[in-house]
Subunit: 141 residues, 2 copies
DNA sequence: CCCAATAATAGGTCTTCACCCACTATTTCA
DNA sequence: TGAAATAGTGGGTGAAGACCTATTATTGGG
């Protein structure tokens, strides 16, 4: 008397929604322990992977509202994870750069994300996890 | 200059979160066209698959707060998708039953969910979709 | 050189969602 | 039979997300 309705479990849409929610929920919980949220990690990742960004470029790359970028950067620069400096070439722009501390934080968060992933994907063996990863990647294209 | 950070795309957790959000978003949009939300569909599915439920049992099966079950059933009985009747054996209980109209609505919603699914999973062939479905099923246990 | 466009920022709104509390009716059981 | 537990209901709250607007500083095009 505890099973979920097969009508729903037969929909991949539903399974995606549900596993996605589980994944996001767990990841968000770990981030919250550091006072952070998803966007903070995304911004750190973007800065680490692609180098310094004007805030507008972060907004475009990640699809966040420009005014929310401001808030995220406020919260990332407080603990010293990013530096903000006005661009001398165009003084309207503010360039955000990840610091050594920010890189360390990102590494920590990534490690924890993988731990969460291992819990969530426990029923799958390594080959299957790779398969899943590849399929999801192709969906997002 | 538009790519997402590989640091994120390398995390299955992130991919799940993102595809899940896409799936939920699209499904929610279709449901909203009928003035419904996820839980409405879940409740209809539970009633169709397992027969009439006391509200408390719906709450337990689907993991919704009992007070939210009330609201969902209010909205499902307004258009006549479910009937509510007090259980004569235990007059505290209210038994919810899906109507013929409710079954028709569920069929419609399911058909639309499959259409959404086809859009979302367009990059995958049929075998791969089955694979994805099987993997996600095993994750949810 | 002036005006329109651009970048950042501060501040706010509007939903959605999960959750919680108080209250009533009814049942169970000591 | 009286007290405790259970079922449903109504009316909230609080957090999180996405979005929107006005303002200021700065730039570049006509």
């Amino acid at each position: 008397m505890e099973a979920l309705p097969p009508s729903l479990l037969g929909l991949t849409t539903y399974l995606l929604s549900k596993t996605g929610k589980a994944a996001r929920g767990r990841l968000a919980a770990r981030l919250a322990a550091d006072g952070l949220r998803m966007w903070h990690m995304a911004v750190l990742a973007a800065l680490a992977d692609f180098g310094p960004h004007a805030q507008r470029d972060l907004s475009a790359r990640l699809g966040i509202d420009p005014s929310d970028v401001v808030k995220v950067l406020d919260e990332l620069s407080a603990p010293g994870f990013v530096d903000r400096a006005r661009d001398p070439a165009d003084r309207r722009r503010v360039t955000a750069t990840i610091t050594a501390g920010g890189r360390r934080e990102l590494t920590r968060l990534t490690r924890e994300a993988r731990a969460i992933q291992d819990e969530l994907l426990a029923p799958l063996d390594v080959a299957e996890r790779d398969q899943l990863h590849a399929l999801l990647t192709r969906i997002l294209v």
